[in-house]
């Protein structure tokens, strides 16, 4: 099967929860077992076995990741629980350089003897491929950190919250939708915990405990007489947080035509609103195609940033390493080195940041033992940098890695993945209301929808959840069948205004796909509401 970009999570739907078979994400375990941790002394001893075995077989460099990956899915529809599944995946991945070539091997057998053999296998893979290797791998220098640790700054571990509490919250959410006249509702809480241990021949022994959460729902309304249906999804986003994300806080609510959320989410308020809005959406006017000024809420714009800024600035795409799958990039080393390439206009400033609190990409160290950092990607509209790993740093004249290495599990080899890539808020004070006041003919989009972009990231098309028509500075009603098409450079040069930091929010995804075999990466994108002038809008309604 071909899988591309965002991986389908449909395999983890209702049916999958009821099966005893192994899910995509790992094996299932009971909730209590998820609270066990593997002693760091045991992991260090195992790591030393691997590193010594790899060196004795001829590796010039080796690293090992001992990973325990936990997921919990609580899934409901209407008044019933479809599944409560805890999964655990525990194993080890060893990566080496031998004869100038990478080799990798992984296994779920985490005994000393197995680990030594696994290291030998990784070296054998490297040596087999060295025969067809071009340039030898060149790693940017990296000092060893010794024994260090890092933990997501969470307030409440989602795995310690009783399943009963989660089930009750989701069923209460569903009840509000059904009482409000919804035809169907599905709701889910996904919790993730990555317990990762990394060690390398550079002398690092890094223990990390990373937490993420994603509560969400879809409310569906059906009109049997016409055979039409429509849906609205929650305005929550996956976060690098604990269960505290689900504790509502008034100061985290952004009031407006629809309430949106910062670092705390009110699922009960959001479902009430979505149930009303899905009715309005069904009755909304079908959009007239043409040029509109687009006002894009962060719950929508994060995805446009992800696809049109995040992916083309990945160095592996720029260099051609992704040519056979996700594609290459319209950006080049020449364009970056010239420091003259107008990615956007002067309003556009984009940063890469793996340290941002609450974001999905925040960790202490990446998966090749590099401490995380923050750097500019686009400065005053000019492209200034990319996203690189240790073996790529020298290709853009850097003496150290930018810390962008990640593997979705112990089973997969680490490679360059996107850090959080965010649009900085406007420097001048500007509210959403004031921004809309200046729009003559526009569309205000809240929530992300359909998305598609070409393999070099020029031409894109995005849909959304809720579309509001703006006429002469005022919101006049809801629209439907809206999608906009543009070209990345034209779009970012048509940026008209960016709201100030009081409107800044994160959006993100657990399942950004890249690589072969394809791997998922969790990444956030921050921004404030932004206006883009004169964007082409199409009507997506069809008769079949």
């Amino acid at each position: 099967m071909k899988r591309s970009e965002f991986l389908y999570l449909s395999g983890l739907g209702a049916g999958a929860f009821m099966l005893p078979g192994l899910s995509l994400m790992g094996k299932s375990i009971d909730p209590a077992q998820a609270l066990d941790v593997v002693d760091v002394r045991i992991k260090k001893a195992l790591a030393d076995v691997a590193l010594n075995a790899a060196r004795s077989k001829g590796a010039s460099y080796a690293d090992i990741r001992i990973g325990r990956y936990l997921n919990q899915f609580v899934s409901t529809r209407e008044n019933r629980v479809l599944g409560v599944t805890n999964t655990e995946s525990y194993g080890v991945g060893i990566r080496v350089i031998a004869d100038g070539c990478w080799g990798f091997a992984s296994s779920n057998n985490v005994e000393k003897e197995d680990i030594a053999k696994l290291a030998e296998r990784a070296v054998a893979v490297a040596k087999a491929n060295a025969k067809i290797q071009g340039e030898p791998v060149k790693l940017a220098p990296q000092k060893g950190y010794g024994e260090v640790s890092w933990k997501s700054p969470i307030e409440r571990n989602a795995f310690e919250v009783p399943v009963k509490e989660k089930v009750e919250l989701l069923l209460s959410t569903n009840a509000i939708a059904m009482q409000g006249g919804a035809s169907f509702v599905n709701s889910v809480i996904l919790a993730v915990n990555e317990q990762k241990y990394f060690a390398s021949t550079d002398g690092s022994y890094i223990d990390q405990d990373i937490h993420r959460i994603y509560p969400n729902f879809t409310v569906t309304k059906i009109d049997r007489s016409t055979g039409k249906f429509d849906t609205i999804r929650s305005l929550s986003t996956p976060m690098g947080m604990g269960y505290e994300y689900l504790d509502p806080k008034e100061s985290s609510k952004v009031r407006g035509i629809v309430t949106r959320y910062k670092d705390r989410y009110d699922i009960l308020e959001d479902i009430k609103s979505a149930t009303v809005k899905v009715d309005e959406k069904m009755k909304a006017k079908s959009v007239e195609p043409g040029k509109y000024d687009m006002v894009l809420d962060p719950s929508h714009l994060w995805l446009t940033i992800h696809e049109s800024v995040g992916h083309p600035t990945e160095l592996d795409r720029v260099l051609g390493y992704e040519a056979n799958f996700a594609g290459t990039s319209f950006l080049s080393l020449e364009r970056m080195n010239s420091k003259k390439f107008n990615f956007g206009n002067k309003l556009v400033n984009v940063v890469a940041d793996k340290t941002q609190k609450g974001s999905l990409g925040a960790v202490g160290y990446d998966d090749e033992g590099v401490a995380c950092k923050k750097w500019d990607i686009v400065k005053d509209g000019i492209l200034v940098n990319f996203q690189a790993t240790r073996d790529q740093a020298h290709m853009i004249g850097l003496n150290e890695s930018q810390g962008c290495s990640y593997a979705q599990s112990w089973q997969d080899v680490q490679f360059q993945r996107m850090p959080n890539i965010s649009l900085l808020p406007g420097k001048e004070k500007l509210s959403v209301d004031d921004l809309i006041k200046n729009v003559e003919k526009g569309i205000y989009i809240i929530g992300d929808g359909s998305f598609s972009i070409d393999q070099q990231r020029y031409n894109f098309q995005f849909g959304g959840q809720m579309f509001y028509e703006i006429k002469e500075g005022k919101i006049v009603g809801m629209l439907k069948d809206v999608a906009y098409q543009s070209n990345t450079q034209e779009f970012w040069n048509a940026c008209g205004a960016i709201c100030d930091e009081s409107d800044y929010r994160l959006g993100g995804a657990f399942n950004d796909g890249k690589g072969q075999p394809s791997q998922s990466n969790a990444v956030s994108h921050g921004c404030s509401t932004t206006r883009f002038n004169g964007v082409n809008v199409i009507n997506t309604a069809r008769k079949i």
């Binding site: 005893p20 296994s107 059906i222 016409t226 040519a323 290459t328 359909s450 997506t540």
Partner: protein, 438 residues
């Protein structure tokens, strides 16, 4: 642990079940081993060797189910995991959609295992990639590709006496070749059960031909065109359609298969008469397991006959509720075609566009299955039965339902990924904008 034989798997499953005290219990065991090479810029970028195995158990009291898993297989560990699943079942909320387990059945022996594919080593992979690189270097192109082989087994057993086992092999290869200037790109991909059918040299030559042939593309106006879709492009368009062949979604009113006033559009003529789609685990080019995780047999199933929808999948719960036989989903599908070659389809076209493949297809409207995406790696303009010149890539907005109504002709089917589909000639295919991407 790697790959267990039927007898080895059966012994572990039997042992685990012997500890069960639940009303119903089912155990599954699966494992895989394999390896891959990824290359880019005419050199290896990453490569690996992977293996894993695990056992999962579900215990049910009434309609309360608990699941647990383990990757140790001694008696004490097996008993521990059974007890844990039973404790969890007692704590779980009752699931109103729980259906009692399937009883014993005899499943046909599958044809999914190939010993030569199972015997692939890192050196065999390296040699296959060397041949591909040789073609690219000789043609002065840059190659990026991926070769992966997997051998896996899975087995299930339950307290009602059901047992099933399957062993599977697969090797897949894809390569993109691009010219130095970045103005031409070609692609080829295929998957095989049997390694002897994989010829990385011949496949890379096809990609190289596309790369050179697509250089210097001209822009033509977007709009409605007759298209010739190569089998790869045709299979890209059909993936979402196949996922929608489900009775529950249709009968609940939230699928393109939902009928006005309620019910499913089963038995309706939804597509052109030339459209016939089925699945068959015994197709030698696309063999599949003969049972699924629910313990249901997977048999030859007809989905569309002469454009009429003949079957929709029914989960065990939905089948019981509706009083019909459960039907596993349309996983690996085969669409029938004719005997015409791709060249024949081109020859018969007065004015049209040849599409090698599509990219980044996403659903735009589930109501009509409208989807958007782009052409990639070789798009050509056809006039008077001949390829005239390469053209720039397009974004399309089109529904596979409309597309399968506009079928002019179908060619000889070929496997791509997990589908066998013919090249297709389709009229009035909607391209909505141009892309600068190569």
């Amino acid at each position: 642990m790697g790959i267990l034989s039927k007898e080895e798997a059966q012994a572990i499953l039997k042992k685990a079940l012997s500890f069960s005290k639940a009303d119903e219990c089912e155990v599954s065991l699966s494992g895989s081993q394999g390896g891959n090479i990824r290359y880019a810029r005419n050199a290896v970028s990453t490569a690996g060797d992977m293996s894993s195995m695990g056992l999962a158990i579900s215990s049910t009291f009434g309609k309360k189910t608990g699941s647990a898993t383990i990757n140790e297989f001694d008696d004490a560990s097996l008993e521990k995991v059974v007890r844990r699943s039973e404790e969890l079942a007692q704590l779980a909320p009752a699931n109103p959609e729980y259906v009692t387990l399937e009883g014993p059945k005899t499943f046909a022996e599958s044809i999914t295992f190939n010993p030569a594919t199972a015997a692939i080593t890192p050196d065999i992979r390296a040699e296959a990639v060397r041949k591909s690189l040789e073609v690219a270097k000789a043609a002065k192109l840059e190659a990026a590709g991926f070769l992966e082989n997997t051998t896996s087994f899975s087995a299930i057993m339950n307290s009602k006496g059901l047992f099933a086992y399957n062993k599977d092999t697969d090797v897949s290869f894809s390569v993109t070749t691009r010219n130095q200037a970045g103005t031409g790109s070609g692609y080829v991909s295929n998957s095989f059960n049997d390694i002897s059918k994989l010829d990385t040299l011949a496949l890379t030559k096809i990609a190289a031909g596309k790369a050179n042939g697509s250089a210097g593309a001209r822009a033509i106006e977007p709009g409605k065109y007759t298209v010739i879709l190569e089998p790869l492009a045709a299979s890209d368009m059909l993936s979402n359609l196949v996922r929608s062949f489900d009775a529950r979604g249709a009968e609940e009113g939230r699928s393109f298969m939902s009928k006005k006033g309620g019910g499913a559009r089963l038995g309706e003529q939804l597509f052109n008469e030339q459209v016939n789609i089925y699945s068959d685990p015994f197709n030698p080019d696309l063999p599949g397991a003969t049972w699924n995780g629910d313990g249901l047999p997977i048999e030859r199933t007809s989905w569309v006959e002469k454009g009429v929808v003949k079957n929709l999948s029914y989960s065990r719960f939905w089948a019981q509720k509706k009083g019909v036989k459960p039907i596993p989903g349309a996983g690996r599908i085969i669409m029938e075609g004719g005997s015409a070659s791709l060249e024949d389809l081109i020859k018969s076209t007065e004015k049209g566009i040849l599409v090698t493949r599509f990219w980044y297809i996403r659903s735009v409207d589930p109501q009509t299955l409208l989807q958007t995406g782009l052409t990639r790696d070789g798009t050509f303009y056809i006039e008077n039965g001949k390829i005239m010149f390469p053209i720039k890539n397009f974004r399309f907005n089109e529904s596979p339902i409309i597309m399968l109504n506009n079928v002019e002709a179908l060619g000889k089917p070929e496997r791509n990924g997990n589908m066998i589909v013919p090249p297709m000639k389709i009229r009035d295919f909607t391209f909505s904008s141009l892309s600068d991407a190569v």
